[in-house]
Symmetry: C3
Subunit: 517 residues, 3 copies
Amino acid sequence: MIYFGGDYNPEQWPASVRKDDVELMLRAGVNLATVGVFSWSRLEPRPGEFDFGWLDEVLDLLHEAGIGVCLATPTASPPPWFTKLHPDAMPVNRDGVRLTHGSRDTYCVNAPAYLASSLTVTNRLASRYADHPAVRLWHIHNEYGTTCYCDSCAAAFRRWLSLRYGDEAALNDAWSTDFWSQRVSSFDEVLPPRATQYLGNPAQLLDYRRFVSDAMLAHFRAQRALLADSPAPVTTNFALGGWVPVDHAQWSREVDIVAIDDYPAADEDRAFAADLARGWARDRPWMLMEHAPSAAARAVAEPYLARGAAGILYFQWRASRGGAEQWHPAMVPHEGPDTPVFQEISALGAELRDREPVTVTASTALLYDEQTMWALQAPHLPARDPDYDTVARRWHRALDGPIDVLPPTAPLHGYDLVVAPMLYLMSAAVHRSLRDYAGGGGRLILTAGTAQVDEHCRVTPGALDDLIGARLIGPDLTDITATVLHRLPDGRPAVLENRYGAGIVRYMTTQDPGFTH
Amino acid sequence: MIYFGGDYNPEQWPASVRKDDVELMLRAGVNLATVGVFSWSRLEPRPGEFDFGWLDEVLDLLHEAGIGVCLATPTASPPPWFTKLHPDAMPVNRDGVRLTHGSRDTYCVNAPAYLASSLTVTNRLASRYADHPAVRLWHIHNEYGTTCYCDSCAAAFRRWLSLRYGDEAALNDAWSTDFWSQRVSSFDEVLPPRATQYLGNPAQLLDYRRFVSDAMLAHFRAQRALLADSPAPVTTNFALGGWVPVDHAQWSREVDIVAIDDYPAADEDRAFAADLARGWARDRPWMLMEHAPSAAARAVAEPYLARGAAGILYFQWRASRGGAEQWHPAMVPHEGPDTPVFQEISALGAELRDREPVTVTASTALLYDEQTMWALQAPHLPARDPDYDTVARRWHRALDGPIDVLPPTAPLHGYDLVVAPMLYLMSAAVHRSLRDYAGGGGRLILTAGTAQVDEHCRVTPGALDDLIGARLIGPDLTDITATVLHRLPDGRPAVLENRYGAGIVRYMTTQDPGFTH
Amino acid sequence: MIYFGGDYNPEQWPASVRKDDVELMLRAGVNLATVGVFSWSRLEPRPGEFDFGWLDEVLDLLHEAGIGVCLATPTASPPPWFTKLHPDAMPVNRDGVRLTHGSRDTYCVNAPAYLASSLTVTNRLASRYADHPAVRLWHIHNEYGTTCYCDSCAAAFRRWLSLRYGDEAALNDAWSTDFWSQRVSSFDEVLPPRATQYLGNPAQLLDYRRFVSDAMLAHFRAQRALLADSPAPVTTNFALGGWVPVDHAQWSREVDIVAIDDYPAADEDRAFAADLARGWARDRPWMLMEHAPSAAARAVAEPYLARGAAGILYFQWRASRGGAEQWHPAMVPHEGPDTPVFQEISALGAELRDREPVTVTASTALLYDEQTMWALQAPHLPARDPDYDTVARRWHRALDGPIDVLPPTAPLHGYDLVVAPMLYLMSAAVHRSLRDYAGGGGRLILTAGTAQVDEHCRVTPGALDDLIGARLIGPDLTDITATVLHRLPDGRPAVLENRYGAGIVRYMTTQDPGFTH
């Protein structure tokens, strides 16, 4: 079975619409409806006053119709009363501007009041529906992605650093604080990377992104613990993009099924996202939790299905009359079911009834690292064109499939080919892993821009020299012992090939995959 | 008679210049001088300490020369002492940044201290000059246009919403608050659309712009009430542009003469502004209160005069030596009257001596709505190219004149042709008005993008189907019963023509007026 | 002898590296190392707790090797503990955002706590090293360049204005405050040009930039006074660029040697910077304190050396592993001395051993004024393309050398040719100086945009008419008594030539140097 469905927000409509919804869902072949995302202001209309009646009815109605429920905790958008009661739980941006209610995701994940209120509503939801037979999957929160720089975050950041580094000397060393007089004498002197006079410290910036990811992960784990009594598996939906303050490779270890939201324009990008989700999931299933309904629904779903998706879900079931996403496409458009979109989606639903998730076995691995993407976004670096994500996608297109897109820390044994384009940030463990892989007989491709700094953003000159059979001085090569396979039009080497142990390492002097084959 | 003149700010010059000014005004044919805009810091140099002596002299001098005065209340720019005394009356932007003195228009129209001080100075001015024989026109404030998000505004916004909606249920319904958990349990939870995490609620954004317009209108009315003892008519000058937080159609009901400030580059835009001002004025006069003096003054004035302007005024009489508009053109340039600009303006003044405002009768109406413009500026919508204002102007150029540019709520009876391009926002009353017009035998043109949402920014699928003789699904047409007059190069319909009652409705599938004829 | 060396920050490396550093410096011909810039957090690791041991060792080591030291006061970057202790000494931007530690230069030069702490550390440094034989030069601070808008600055600005103008009447007159009701009744009402509603007052904006320069100069002088017991000369390094809040012409009177930091892309810009530094220095020496090391070091140094540089120094000696400038080029790159950059720099060092600074005598002067640059950046002016700096550089390229680039207040007697392109701001003293020069037989070139306003940004119509032999009305010319040397393609004059006293004045109706010859 393949999950098929989408976000179902019946609270936006009169109760009378629900029966139509269920009838149309059955017509469309929907077997999973995501319910309750952003429903906090309906579930707890006033502080401490809960109303689950409407949700009981929705879940019962879906269950009677045989439609499974992906039940969401509503914590991604606290209600207006929360903002009014707890102004200090609102997020603060780099400039010190405290945001207010008016959109979604407006909270600080480190604010005590937010932690208390969000875990309370999740606990109530969990207690009530842990054993509800409709619940096939728990969906914690929605697209974790709020970065904050408030004083609660500052305090939590200091605790996180203290655990990470142990003492100030280690922090000063990791952050290279002797540059520009940034040496701290106590963790108490550390601040989030708020607005400052000029360029910030790249190690501080990267650690803050790691910290934000971990702080949100702690919130996710706290919610997951409240769901432990339910037999249903647990996930959260991953948003993709350079802005995302979540290290998905790490988070993927914490979910029962990897779920991605994907809104690309091209099939190649769908293929990349699918291979990435599968790479994060490893031996667990993955699904497409959100994408845009369209009159090309069958063709759009294919790249995901062909790469092992266990579910094809949309945002959202029925188009919203109002609100910020009123023009977002929906499975049931504003004009109703007598529309090309609904017909196409129903056709896809019918097709999926007899399909199962496919198993994909890849012999090529493409390394992709969100921490590297973050490191490359630091303002002290020149703007890069193309950027990291674009380079990775170009390589993905250039390589012959199937391809596993993997975190650099993933086991590489067994792959015929491993490619690490522009992997700027490289820890000692990844250095070892690549050498083990190549030394053991693997084929490894590295590019310009790979392994320039360690995990603390400190420059590591010569770090690849043994692998590539040449000495790198900036972008230039000297002392070449490897074979020059191709040259640039100006005569400089384009591709080196070096025997390393039992394997072969190719080094590309550009980030372009043009000379791969 | 046609008013001719401009802003006269003699306080910027030694008293000795005034005699020259009057002599030159007479030479130029000036019959109306706008005095006192931005003169607060001269009229009340210290809190509660008033000095009208210099203004007495200026008014007397002009009167003796037979030059009328358009006397302005100085409330658009409080003096520095006001800022120092009342920091909490300074405007606050979306990010919570409180602005300070340093330019003009720096006040919050809902701040109690500003209301008190501004009405006091206006009251003093009104008492002193209500019967001054020079005063031909009162000019309240200047280009109302300050948006603020402070706590005074938040409180006033809640009162405004409470009056508009009555109870929270109606607000929740109008604002579609069930999307993203924005349901309020009390008006007290509502905030202005301050900086928030992501996209705001379009209904909240639009209501805030309406509220800001109404808050400034209340200030205008309070000033107008203080002028009630004077026989002179009352106006305020309307700035044009997408940033303007004033619903001029509504404000036009509150002035004795519609006065616009217009700084375009092309004659077509002058024609549009003139037809728009006349459409706002309906049966009342309208005038050009500000435009830029130039050596082409006669040609520049013609589009306004030909469309019924009762006055041609400039900003400003004599160029300012210093200040932020020191390089703004003036009737008397920096180099004095022996200049092409002054000579041309004098020639125009001479021509106008014997002219009267023309009466314009149009059989074509173009509907134009600033609330639609605001609604289309909401960030949840894709950036539109061309934007609403540009589309309206293109239609104005494409149509044969004379044309009345009208608010959509204006009576349409009697027009041969009514065009409603891209009228995204459409209330039930306007829907009725268009059907009454077409059903009664009128010719109506609608375009893509028209009537997509109601007055609360809620999607209204199928709202035009009966008028256009087809079913609209997004941008596509099905079930066409109308005649297809033109097709796009790809074969899709470009123009439909549908009989509706006794009239004819054309629907353009683009916003482009190309296929009109 | 010519100084040769660069910034040496040994605190970023283990002490074991120092011996290598000295050995390599000797190999490279380094004779001056700038030590201690940004070392405050090492010199005073906790408030009041000083550690000079490591610096003693560094200075002794360098001295033993015969390498001179340019010893820097560390005041440009207070340590993290300072930020934590004195949050109110952090700079505040126009929007009222208080910046925090995280970069460099994060302090307010008017904050009492910063003044006290920075002068204390400088005093300790001065006491300890006043007579150290290694110290050849004192380097106060680093690239003064922090603008702040906090309340300490507001108070200091009012004192500065009170001294400059004496009373409010003079301030009101200079600032043209009758425009937009900005007339102050007391200096207490004046604010820094913080965020405001619309365009600011150009005279206020310019005076604020002058005040910021003066406030930093007061800090520089206070530090210099603490160094008075040392026989070594004193300098500070000048950053170049439109953002810089320092009037270098004035500051150049306060240093023993003018020192510039220059990071251009083209040799023409290096030539301009060198002629500018020499123009600021007049009869004193000047040096290149910072530029970027490269494999073209010899060619890059030549434009400076040919124009009289007394020193060629780089930022920095050894590349930083971490921090915001980890990718900045260095004399010893990340890959070590066996690199083209180090080899080329060593070759230059060898060449310089036998050279002395050349003496330059120029017969052409190009007037260049940072206050004019600031005035032309005011937002009430149209964006200019090309901007002031670009225009000046174009003229520099077009003129035959040698050229002195001079402040407009410099003595002009003796030059064959003086060019004042786009010198928008012109004081009465400069007006007199130009007339004295031309009247005394000099050749003077003026361009469009020259002498449009006085030192208070007030328009001065006709200010050039006597010099150019024509009447300027805006950009147009009438009453031409001068000879028209060239015409534009449309027939309007391009170049006028006018006899003025014993001299000749050419006026260009564009800012382009095309018609110069």
